[in-house]
Symmetry: C2
DNA sequence: TTTTTTTGTTAGTTAGAACTAACTAATTAT
DNA sequence: ATAATTAGTTAGTTCTAACTAACAAAAAAA
């Protein structure tokens, strides 16, 4: 049984991965490197981080991050604001363009949902969602 | 309903992504760049491709691929063999080390299976696999 | 047989992104 | 008030990995 679960997961992972690939084509991400995309996703997950936080989470030295951030500002994906509390620190925000780029996961998941919706009957869909959530909840995924 | 599917998929994607991350830590992939990992995965998917095929699939120019392949040989992940049919062409193979690196997806899927197995009852597991396969088969994922 | 095409390599260039060292400005501690 | 720490930048280096141009060797076409 465990083997069958694994086979299913393997195939399902591939489906998700394909969906992400398609989503990447839809968004105009072409002029961003994978490093830059990774920065944008990390900034999105953290809440307007400063440079120190960001470099800590990315596991990189601050000067390295400074330079990439500079480039992302030039590209219009992010902007900086000075902190009121500490005038040395600046917070990094996504611009609307930057946020759009992060929607590619969303596109992928939408695409997947469409697949599932058309493959399963209403009852099956309900059961699928229930099982999915049971797995997720017992493993505390937000 | 479609919304609930999407929410489930979003969370499930994150779970898979976490599992892949953990698997990455387990394998000693640390001295390989993400480009190099991508090459190894592509070589694994194709069947002992030659350089022309590989560069076509990767969407890169041949000289670029030549150089990365050289480095992967130095690192002991791949080796080349000359074709019998055409002495100009060489086929690229993964070494045992190269194959091990590709097992990280396998680790991730194993890890996921464990999660699912312990979250669901025997009946639920069976139903989950059935639904998974129904989705996958109606979308022709190998 | 000679020419053209194809496979892959070598050489040289460029851009991205990491690093360290050294710095300024702001804040905190003494 | 002065010294030490912290946030972020600037300058300069290195490595990876992409590119084009030019090539040799083998195969296919003329």
């Amino acid at each position: 049984m465990n083997d069958q679960i694994k086979i299913g997961i393997t195939r399902f992972s591939r489906l998700i991965s394909n969906a992400e690939g398609k989503a990447k084509d839809l968004c105009d991400v072409k002029d961003l490197t994978s490093t830059q995309l990774n920065y944008l996703e990390t900034i999105n997950e953290l809440d307007n981080p400063n440079l120190t936080e960001l470099s800590a989470v990315l596991g990189l030295k601050k000067p390295s991050v400074t330079v990439v951030i500079e480039r992302l500002i030039t590209k219009g994906c992010i902007y900086k604001t000075q902190s009121d509390a500490d005038r040395r620190t600046t917070h990094i925000h996504l611009t609307e363009v930057g946020k759009q780029i992060n929607q590619r996961h969303d596109f992928a998941h939408e695409y997947m949902s469409g697949f599932i919706a058309k493959s399963l009957s209403a009852n099956e869909q309900q059961e699928f969602v229930r099982l999915l959530n049971k797995v997720l909840d017992s493993n505390k995924v937000k």
